[in-house]
Subunit: 367 residues, 2 copies
């Protein structure tokens, strides 16, 4: 495979530089509050609600939480992934020799059936660069159509990672396209970091966040958020589904060793991937993340329902795991109670995306 493009050091200053670079291409997404949800998060759960959980019989935590929602579901292509893709392309354009070597004609390539596919397709088309997207043959027709709709050349592969990588290697050999991975790359991480950087710039002057919680899949968003907050007083937390071992990040964080593979069918389909090596170095080795918490499928579904019914926002299941932690994870809530006291915490929650089919949504709530 070709070497990835050169990149900046993984610091907050680089996040700021990335933000300046991609600003013309992305939306400044709104930051919303919601009285009902902040009140719910600040209401102790009942002992009955804790029955059957690992916290059964304990005193429910009494955190005070004021929630600030960063709405990346309203970002271009419907997810924060647009930030990383535009940043990776901008850096590629600046790379010495890329233009002269015909890089603009050779294009870019990635393997993804999710939001990164559409993000890279959009960023490439915006710059008149061809994009080759390797997708499993079994991908949802709507996702294939959307990616083609952004002008990408969709190349099909089998669904195992070995098959996808073989097809990707063939595309690179035939076209000379540059690989833009979905999360395990510094420029992608710095791009995703701009979501939290922007969030911090949008708060009222009187508000200082005590923490930001983001979903954790491959780790681009969480590690980027950690870089944004690395020289601030804002603590950073990750949120994962626990279903079928999808909490690989949390388990790795507790054991001290990254878990390189995971196989889960959690409804939070954006979070089925293991944490990548570079994100891991930021999240764990550099100790820039203060904790990783997990939630059940039922809790994700309950949080999703609240966002639809109370905020009237369309979000994908992956987007609400941070909210689910704030509402339902007693370990997190007890920590906020301890650290925030009566004053409480202002907590940033990143709604990572809103790409869910209405059919899938119907199935989620059809009983």
């Amino acid at each position: 495979m070709s070497s990835p493009p050169a990149s900046l050091p993984l610091t907050r200053a680089s996040v700021e530089a990335a933000y300046e670079l991609i600003k013309p291409y992305i939306h400044e997404t709104p930051v919303l509050t919601n009285t009902t949800l902040s009140q719910l998060a600040s209401t102790p759960r009942t002992p009955a609600e804790l029955e059957g959980t690992e916290w059964a019989g304990q005193n429910p935590a009494k955190p005070v939480l004021r929630l600030w929602f960063k709405c990346e579901n309203l970002q271009r292509i419907g997810a924060f992934k647009a930030r990383g893709a535009f940043h990776a392309i901008e850096r590629l354009k600046q790379e010495p020799g890329w233009e002269e070597g015909g890089g603009r004609l050779k294009g870019v390539v990635t393997h993804s059936s999710g939001n990164h596919a559409q993000a890279l397709a959009l960023a490439a088309r915006t710059n008149n660069i061809p994009a080759h997207i390797v997708m499993p043959t079994i991908s949802a027709p709507a996702k294939i159509a959307a990616t083609k709709g952004y002008g990408a050349n969709v190349v099909f592969s089998g669904s195992t990672s070995v098959e996808r990588e073989a097809v990707t290697a063939t595309v690179i050999a035939e076209t000379g396209a540059r690989l833009i991975p979905p999360y395990d790359h510094p420029n992608i991480i710095l791009g995703q970091a701009t979501a939290s950087f922007e969030l911090l710039s949008q708060l009222p002057p009187s508000t200082t966040l005590s923490g930001i919680i983001t979903p954790l899949g491959g780790g681009g968003l969480l590690s980027g958020t950690a870089l944004t907050c690395s020289s601030t007083s804002v603590k950073v937390f990750g949120a994962e589904p626990s279903f079928q071992g999808a909490d690989d990040g949390r388990r790795g964080y507790l054991s001290g060793e990254r878990i390189p593979a995971v196989s889960t069918l959690t409804i939070a389909d954006g979070l089925r991937t293991p944490v990548g090596a570079i994100p891991w170095s930021i999240i764990y080795e550099r100790r820039l993340v203060s904790g990783i918490y997990s939630v059940s499928e039922a809790q994700i579904r309950a949080a999703l329902r609240l966002v639809y019914e109370r905020m009237k926002l369309v979000v994908e299941p992956s987007a609400v795991v941070g909210l689910a932690v704030a509402l339902y994870n007693e370990e997190f809530r007890a920590m906020v109670e301890r650290q925030g006291g009566a004053q409480g915490w202002d907590l940033g929650i990143i709604f990572s995306g809103g790409n869910v089919s209405l059919e899938a949504l119907g199935k989620l709530f059809s009983d």
Copy 2:
């Protein structure tokens, strides 16, 4: 039944006065634009798309439309109805003799199973006034729970209008509560009018709307919008479902006679009511509405899908009939082409509400 509260003349000045009165109680809801939807609205439909419609074989219209969405789905209780309810209560409080006659203890009453029920319950509770809401026994449990959740006294009745009115009369006889009807009342109309009044105040200085289109059910919102625009250059249009005769407003408008009853099960369940007498006097007799257009169930569903997928907003089916007219009604589109020419139109579209159950949504898109 008791007489309704005294009210102001039905003019734009009264709308402004209503707005000042209710401002402290309602949200200033956002006005959004969406490039994809404006582009879609400005793209001629294909001859194939017109096959099987009344416009088959005609040249598709070529309107230029820039759409401005007033998001009343983000209003308190999730619909514009909060505006009318708060306004009716404020006027009641100002009515000579109401306070002295024990009006505050006697409370208010209405019959509604929809958004007006929750709106009146909230407005009453905010003012520490009891609210009695007559709902059919067969109402959705979620709606009953929501209305009770706002502190209202829910009284059950049969589902015919005769049964509901009998129960309402009994409540009035027993409690002395004042009737606050859902749409056929000047103070309700003036309250609903503030949605468009606010919209006009939120546009960039360089933008002048050529028209505003709103859903038409009982007519409170449409007639209120007509009052807002009555001394301006902004034309006002109504949008209705055509299913099972739900286009009573349009048919009445064309025949010159109000149609007082309608029986339809359109998916736009907020629009199943006939137009009320006072709204009709504004819409038709005073000639303050320039046209009423209807759309099919499939077109409502298609517009709904676009709003979910492209705007990431939760709206109820009734909310998107105006957008469906702009996208799919050739009569409306040809009129915009004629009147707007190459310059086109800036069109305000009122998203009236967002109260839809996820289960109902799932059913709508389950095939």
